[in-house]
Amino acid sequence: MEPQLEVKQQTELKRKTRLSKDRAMAVAFLAPSFILILIFIYGFIGWTGWVSVSNWNTLVPDFSFAGLKNYIYLFGDYRFQADLRNTVFFTILFIGLVIILGLGLSILIDQKLKGESIFRNIFLFPMALSFVVTGVVWQWLLNPSTGYNKFLQVFNIQPKWYTDTKILAGFEWGQIEFGLPVAIFAVVIAAVWQMTGFSLAMYLAGLRGIPEELREAARIDGASEFQIYRKVILPILMPITVSVVIIMAHISLKIFDLIYAMTGSGANFVTDVPGVYMFETTFRGNYYANGAAIAIIMLLLVAVFIVPYLISSRRGDQ
């Protein structure tokens, strides 16, 4: 064993000296950003985690250990239960619609139609706005006494949009009525309006990357146009769908600005989300530990989506 080890060490050493210069450069380049990220992202995530198990629920910091008290409080809290319900339905509706509309529009645009770039720009444009602007605009468009309802008067329909407090298919669950809050549709419409352009662009790029030969081959095999999309195009676009889901999921789970600008918490918290609750309880109520606990829960929710993606993409790399 001994000599073998020595030989190994020697070759190692040789490689090291050869690489040492490159390596030093690489370390030197990476170190500043690595250190900054370590402190300002992971350091503060750790700090937030620590605050979330402390007793700091007044203006005066109190870092005594509270165990899971803040988490237990939150999961028993009417507002937080409503937030989780809203987040679930918002995320499902938002991602679903963004994918369906983005894919549909990109397929239509891909049909080599005239003035394609005009359409592309029209659909992409909302993405250039900030969520706050979108929120303010849609707040008025979907306001029950102004906006679309003025037009809908002709048909005698007057939806209450985001002021509707009805819960569809609701049943008692914990403290809240679990079901689909009607008001969340209004927020979904605004969010979808803004983000569809993104998935459209992704899918369009994907479609453009599919060689014509593949379609030709499928046609020769006698596939119908619909079958080509179902059996050939969509499977090829799968990685894009995954990316869109991941990106949209982390937007929708962390959404704050759109809802804060558009509806606020809503009557009976029908449009409230963890982000808004976190802001209000921390900076209005001075419940810092509760706010930190909400932040950690949001982080874990996003991690549910991101971590499997990271693992699978790492496997893909290897």
Binding site: S265, N268, R284
Partner: protein, 431 residues
């Protein structure tokens, strides 16, 4: 290629280090200030507020002008933070206070927001000697001085007073429907029924932010409980499941039956607009709504719109007062005291308040500078029993208020009195 990289890296390092050192360069002058605090031109007096809206900003600037004329040697910095009716400013303030970088002086509502917040956190200096020096002890009402005091120590200087228990009503709508101005709850509901039957929304509410509804509830509480027991709610002497609180919740529920259907999509200005336009008859709002009626909607006081106290709170005054105090650990307390002296002077209050549309906190201000509403309110203020507003953080700590706002938000939709009382009782354990 490698050389290029190392060059870039060195450049990057240089910028990075440069940024660090320029930071410390900025720090040095303030460090040396502490050493030579005798010099007047130390740090500027930084005035932290959320006064950025029409009227209030004009008032603040007038105040700063007045101060600069009196003390041309002291620099003033207006550090107002816009947005969220003060929420954004409070978030910034909390960060700065916890980082031990307090502004020279900051806007804070008198009452619990000051006493249970910054005073309890041991961040404020006492101003007892300063009050004596300025001869202010009998210039502010005793009830008001109590609101900015904790354990006998005074901590801030009130600059203005707003009234929370006001009903603004559309005079034309009242006349057309033959409705008398209500004084009691019975009269209020009778008037509301009459208006409803005539197809007018009796009460305009915009509770997109829950505090507007909380404000209605606090006024009902005051009407039912009276000054002492209203106060007792927050000191723990009166329980939240007291019969009278339940009665107040029932009245609140009844009141909510008369509001506009789209209340959840409106803020208080949108609600006031309904009254101004004659679509609704009344709105319960603090008297900053008066500025909205006369400045934004160009309506004439006592011709187009009138005002009265909320039911059964005649002789009461729900106080919302903006005050400024002296944080601990600032560099130039003497300069800041000069500013507070101007702020608390008759001249200062009369410069600020007519523009802001509030009334002065002092009882000896010049009445002729104020409009009719101001004159009436100043008259009431001298004689009325003062109570601290819950909805604006004066009656109880912000944490309790946040929970009450949540309970109110749920109650407005569910209208379940038992649940509501329970939620209030649970929240009261934080008091």
């Amino acid at each position: 290629m490698k050389k290029l990289f190392s060059l870039i890296f060195v450049l990057f390092l240089a910028i990075f280090l440069g940024a660090c050192s320029s930071d410390s360069a900025n720090d040095t002058p303030s460090d040396s200030d502490e050493g030579t605090s005798g010099e007047k031109n130390g740090g500027a007096v930084e005035i932290f507020s959320w006064w950025t809206g029409a009227g209030e900003e004009d008032g603040l600037l007038a105040l700063i002008d007045l101060f600069e004329n009196k003390h041309p040697d002291i620099k003033v910095e207006n550090a107002a933070v816009a947005g969220g009716a003060g929420t954004n400013a409070k978030a910034v303030l909390a960060t700065r206070m916890q980082g031990n970088e307090p502004p020279s002086t900051f806007q804070v509502h008198g009452g619990a927001e000051l006493n249970e917040g910054w005073v309890a956190a041991d961040k404020m200096d006492t101003l007892n000697d300063f009050y004596e020096e300025q001869g202010w002890m009998d210039k502010f009402p005793q009830d008001l001085i109590d609101m900015v005091s904790k354990d006998g120590n005074i901590y801030s200087v009130p600059v203005n007073i707003h009234r929370g228990n006001v009903i603004f009503y559309n005079k034309h709508v009242f006349e057309e429907n033959g409705v008398e101005v209500p004084v009691t709850f019975d009269e209020f509901f009778a008037a509301a029924d009459k208006l409803k039957a005539a197809g007018v929304t009796p009460l305009a509410l915009g509770d997109k932010e829950a505090w507007t509804a909380t404000q209605i509830f606090e006024n009902i509480l005051l009407g039912v409980l009276g000054q002492d027991d209203y106060k007792g709610l927050f000191s723990g002497d009166v329980a939240f499941d007291d019969e009278r609180v339940i009665e107040a919740a029932e009245l609140f529920k009844k009141t909510l039956g008369y509001v506009n259907e789209d209340h959840a999509s409106r803020n208080w200005q949108d609600a006031a607009q309904l009254v101004g336009n004659g679509e609704a008859a009344m709105t319960i709002m603090g008297d900053w709504a008066k500025g909205y009626f006369s400045n934004d909607m160009k309506l004439e006081t006592n011709v187009d719109f009138g005002y009265t106290t909320t039911p059964e709170t005649n002789g009461h005054f729900m106080v919302i007062t903006d005050t400024f105090g002296l944080p601990k650990g600032i560099e130039n307390p003497d300069d800041v005291k000069e500013f507070l002296a101007v702020l608390g002077s008759v001249e200062g209050q009369d410069a600020f308040n007519p523009l802001k549309g509030s009334i002065p906190a002092r009882v000896d201000a010049d009445v002729s500078k104020y409009d009719q509403y101001g004159k009436d309110t100043m008259e009431d203020f001298k004689a009325a029993k003062l109570s601290a507003s819950l909805a604006h953080g004066s009656a109880a700590a912000e944490g309790f208020l946040t929970k009450v706002n949540q309970a109110v938000n749920i109650f407005v939709t569910q209208q379940d009195v038992d649940n509501f009382i329970n939620a209030l009782k649970n929240a009261a354990s934080d008091l």
